[in-house]
């Protein structure tokens, strides 16, 4: 039996990925694993994430999860990226358990983005 059902949140995010794209001259994080590619980019000003974008080669659940992430953290303090966790995304998107690994790739990419932002901030201070 096919376990790939998509709840309304997944469908809405998949059909309206308003945060799909790339930020020019921003912090960038890229991860390739589990057969998918995720690229996150962000502009930060005054400690706030002013612009957050994603590019994904992957399944609808990962695309939707990336869109949800961007919607939640754009406009928020960059420090809050530390709080990103996949549990609520797995629940909100009803991600099939066999895709857990893919959502964890998103988590790794977010961590990497946070590190890239901190790196840019410390270089700016210098």
């Amino acid at each position: 039996m096919n376990n790939n059902s998509y709840n309304p949140v997944v469908r809405q995010c998949f059909e309206n990925p308003v945060h799909a794209g790339t930020v020019t001259s921003g912090a960038v994080a890229y991860f390739e694993d589990q057969g998918l590619r995720i690229r996150l980019s962000a502009n930060v000003a005054g400690g706030t994430v002013t612009e957050l974008r994603f590019r994904v080669w992957g399944c609808p659940h990962v695309i939707a999860a990336s869109e949800v992430f961007c919607r939640q953290y754009e406009g928020r303090p960059a420090a809050e990226l530390e709080q990103f966790d996949t549990e609520h995304i797995m629940q909100d998107l009803a991600v099939p358990v066999e895709k857990t690994g893919r959502i964890l790739v998103l988590e790794d990419t977010v961590r990497s983005l946070r590190a890239a932002i901190l790196d840019r901030q410390s270089k700016t201070r210098e």
Binding site: N4, R11, F14, G35, L36, W57, G58, C59, P60, I63
Partner: protein, 367 residues
């Protein structure tokens, strides 16, 4: 054969709808001939006659002896019965078996089970177009090779193997040849009198018959051991009360297929051409499988920059497949496409269009 009007179903390789005449035939049998065909009374014999008639209808489609068929629950069972039954029966002849990496899961898993039981299996690789060169097949034979299983029409790519040539080689080397004909039966001309095949699997639901019934052609003089034991029906090779209504449905579907094969093929060639013309300008598109000579009802393409499952969702209400329908719950890339030399990413970006008798140009153009 109506499908909900907002859907465009292009997954006929997965399954087909019941032809109206088949549904009607089954209703008749369910109402008037529901008796056990093994019963030795007047109405039991009536049901038995219907089973024999269905065998004759199938035999006409495949140009075979009607007494050569064993009724099964479908191609998966037929494949298992053929492979396990023949390999074990001929164990004295040798323990080397041949098959391809691109076979259906029902065949692959049967061979894997035999490997665990001590048989030695050679998994043949096709060329990048999915076809098996006869030289590669012949070179793999050993003195102890006793069974080969090669699919006729590949369910993912539409590649048609040269079963006649493979069968000739098998005959010269005393190798039993089993062919999974699930995607060929009722779709291309299959002549089991001319083809040097010993065992041939088929299932009704791929050619507008009911799900839950299939058959295994067993050429006279090809011994196999049964998988099941019980009431002694079907020469004790596949016991169990026969589902007369399903078998009658299969027979009716076979009769319809026999009358429509040439027209169906011509229509599918035309539709495939239209489909290809419509999508081939898409950047990064490539065909998985033979460019020429494949079964026209199946077109497998890959798109470099789009993952298959996402493409599937984006194409709704178009109903197509990524990989084999029987593997659709798996998150792994198609092992068939991997065997053709595609990378994981290329395999995951593939979608399979499979056309059928109800497919119309109007629906193809709409999308």
């Amino acid at each position: 054969m109506a499908v909900a009007t907002d859907l465009i179903y292009l997954d006929f390789a997965a399954t087909t709808p019941l032809a109206p005449e088949v549904a009607e035939r089954m209703r008749e049998v369910q109402a008037n001939a529901w008796f056990n065909p093994s019963s030795n009374h007047i109405v039991g014999r009536k049901s038995a006659a219907l089973v024999r008639f269905a065998a004759e209808q199938l035999a006409s489609l495949l140009n075979a002896d009607s007494a050569s068929f064993l009724w099964t629950s479908g191609a998966t069972e037929s494949n298992n019965l053929a492979i396990m039954g023949a390999a074990r029966q001929r164990e004295h002849r040798g323990k080397h078996l041949l098959t391809m990496r691109t076979e259906h899961k029902a065949v692959v898993d049967a061979f894997r089970a035999l490997e665990k039981q001590g048989f030695d299996v050679t998994w043949l690789e096709p060329d990048t177009n999915g076809l098996l060169p006869i030289e590669r097949f012949a070179a793999a034979l050993r003195d102890d090779t006793q069974l080969a299983s090669i699919m006729h029409v590949n369910n993912e790519t539409g590649a048609i193997q040269d079963i006649a040539a493979i069968g000739d080689v098998c005959k010269r080397h005393d190798v039993v040849l089993h062919v999974d004909g699930a995607q060929a039966t009722g779709k291309i001309r299959v002549d089991l009198t001319a083809l040097p095949v010993d065992l041939y699997s088929l299932t009704a639901h791929k050619f507008y018959g009911p799900k839950g019934v299939g058959a295994l052609f067993v050429r006279e003089g090809t011994p196999i051991l049964p998988l099941m034991f019980g009431g002694g029906q079907q020469r004790r090779l596949r016991p169990g009360t026969l589902p007369v209504d399903l078998i009658a449905g299969l027979g009716q579907a076979a009769q319809i297929a026999a009358a429509n094969i040439d027209a169906d093929l011509a229509n599918l060639e035309r539709l495939k051409g239209r489909l290809l013309a419509g999508i081939q300008e898409v950047a990064g598109l490539h065909i998985n499988g033979p460019e020429q000579g494949a079964y026209p009802g199946i077109l497998n393409v890959g798109l470099d920059d789009v993952e298959g499952e996402s493409l599937l969702l984006a194409l709704e209400p178009l109903c197509v497949a990524t990989g084999s329908a029987c593997n659709s719950r798996s998150q792994e890339p198609s092992y068939v496409l991997r065997a053709l030399g595609r990378s994981d990413r290329e395999a995951q970006s593939a979608i399979r269009f499979s056309l059928g008798r109800p497919t119309s140009t109007k629906k193809l153009i709409r999308r």
